[in-house]
Subunit: 189 residues, 4 copies
Amino acid sequence: MDKKEKIVQASIEVFKEKGIEKTKISDIVQKAEIAQGTFYLYFPSKLSVMPAIAEQIVQRFIQKIKANVSPEARLSEQLSRMVDAIFQVTDEFRDVSVLVYAGFSTTENMSGWEKIYAPLYEWVASLLEMNMQRGLVRGSIDPARTARLVLGLVESAAEQVFLYDLYDARNEAEQKAEPLTMLEHALRP
Amino acid sequence: MDKKEKIVQASIEVFKEKGIEKTKISDIVQKAEIAQGTFYLYFPSKLSVMPAIAEQIVQRFIQKIKANVSPEARLSEQLSRMVDAIFQVTDEFRDVSVLVYAGFSTTENMSGWEKIYAPLYEWVASLLEMNMQRGLVRGSIDPARTARLVLGLVESAAEQVFLYDLYDARNEAEQKAEPLTMLEHALRP
Amino acid sequence: MDKKEKIVQASIEVFKEKGIEKTKISDIVQKAEIAQGTFYLYFPSKLSVMPAIAEQIVQRFIQKIKANVSPEARLSEQLSRMVDAIFQVTDEFRDVSVLVYAGFSTTENMSGWEKIYAPLYEWVASLLEMNMQRGLVRGSIDPARTARLVLGLVESAAEQVFLYDLYDARNEAEQKAEPLTMLEHALRP
Amino acid sequence: MDKKEKIVQASIEVFKEKGIEKTKISDIVQKAEIAQGTFYLYFPSKLSVMPAIAEQIVQRFIQKIKANVSPEARLSEQLSRMVDAIFQVTDEFRDVSVLVYAGFSTTENMSGWEKIYAPLYEWVASLLEMNMQRGLVRGSIDPARTARLVLGLVESAAEQVFLYDLYDARNEAEQKAEPLTMLEHALRP
DNA sequence: AATGAATGAGAATTCATTCAT
DNA sequence: CATGAATGAATTCTCATTCAT
């Protein structure tokens, strides 16, 4: 693994442990097992690592969803798989995603985040469009807007499970069922 | 206004202006017009002010919603007013809310946030229940869980408008319409 | 107990717990259960409490010694009782005495300490003189100087037992026997 | 000289000048000609420098004593030289030694001090043993315990001279003679 | 006399950043 | 490229002291 990647990985881990505010460059380099000065060879500041992290998270989302959602499957099957994927990745990156999200809002204009999220939005939008054409989703929706809402809904459901101290396995199953039913009702013609 | 409240107010203002990372305690005390040491009489650190801010935001949500949503109104009217209220408060606290949320995940266990949000969740849950009894919301939902999803959905829609650089007034209207329609479809029997 | 006395008592306790350097006025007033401002009604500073403490310690020494050492007893008996008394008081005030001693050296000229210790020195000196007249102590000593040496010797022996982590009861007995024998040899004609 | 050593040296000097209580880290770094932050690279606080200072003092004691006390010399000669050495070093480190001693009792457990003093105790113990074998010291003493007493006696005599305001040269000579005589009487068979 | 919240000067501490090796 | 000791400006934090009640 090259040093740049090491830094990104280490940053994710340290951000998880201590939060962004409390993370020092020295924490990152220590975890990455590189020298203090080396950090600056790749990133100008702590916060500039974030886009790299964000990209990783989103790529993970897309990868998981693409791998599990078959274009041929029934709508309910597709939605179910998508919810599963989002729950999985949210779990995987727990607190970091919130932190990165907040980190963005602290530093740059949020459009950076927007840009990174774009491929995911687009993928969901095209999923909706496809199902509109199949007649399984009502024609009155705006696919682009709705894609964001769908993701917002499912992610907030996932955060309920993983970010708060509510977690237990049974809970997770029920926590998935509810938004799924909502989505089906919300989207059907 | 007592000093503690002054600190919270000043913190909100300064956090809005400069973001959390860049805010110094000295900025807060200056805005609050108190001595440096006085801050530490009430809060041990910058981040520990956040729960107090969070509480304010949530109280604002509840206040706005209660003031605008009439128990007698039609469901669509109620939902519409609720969405309006959430958009308004999200606008009012723009960046701060995300920061506070992220700040929480850093300092305490997230269940603190959960606890602060509880009254809002409960209010929406009881709105749903009432409408279930009126036969306007399908009986298969779990009011408590669904309340969270409803709020998650609307908040993420509101964030789309205010946190990113997309804002324009027309946009806002459409951005409200979409989740509203989704909600109506999702909840109707 | 009046407030002044309360302050002295509380100071002793807090100094024992935290040492002088780390003790805050606020620690003292808290322990003394008085208000912050009240402290300044009786003492101008933290260090100005010390002479009062020192006096207490020395008075305790004198009191113990006088109570236990009979002028009629044999020399070895007298010495033995004196050693017992010094060990007891050293135990009672453990670290404080060192701290007070050091505190003196920090602030004022050490002659303050000297002055407070004077009655104790004098008492031991007169004990020696008496025994010189009885022919039990060699005539070549200077009673004043030797009194100091005797006390220095016994106190350092006592500190060995109580200040370091060596303490056990058997140890204490042996630790007393050794300086006692030394004293007897050193003083006998 | 490396930075750590520089800090210890500077601390000794500044403590001598101003006392511990009044010494600021900034005084130390200024005297040491290093940056403020560099101090914290080596020591976490002002008080944590003390063990290092203590070590220096004890090493100085050992060095002086070894250099002056010849194993072949007569006992009284040896004792006399030892007393001279102890008086010299006590003079050299005047106030500091008491402060360090007190500082120790504040920061760590006193056994740290014990450990640092160990080599000195051992040296004196072996001196006593040697003289026991030569038949010049009575066989009934415990060399280890007695070594501590001997040092306690001489040090307290030295402190009498240097720490209090009694000093004058004639005084010093007499102040040495007294414990010396005591020692000779105390130790002889 | 007693209180204790408020003060703010001053000291401790941090940590991003540099740069000689 | 890589290092990591050193830096010192910037900030946090402490705590003796005051003073209106």
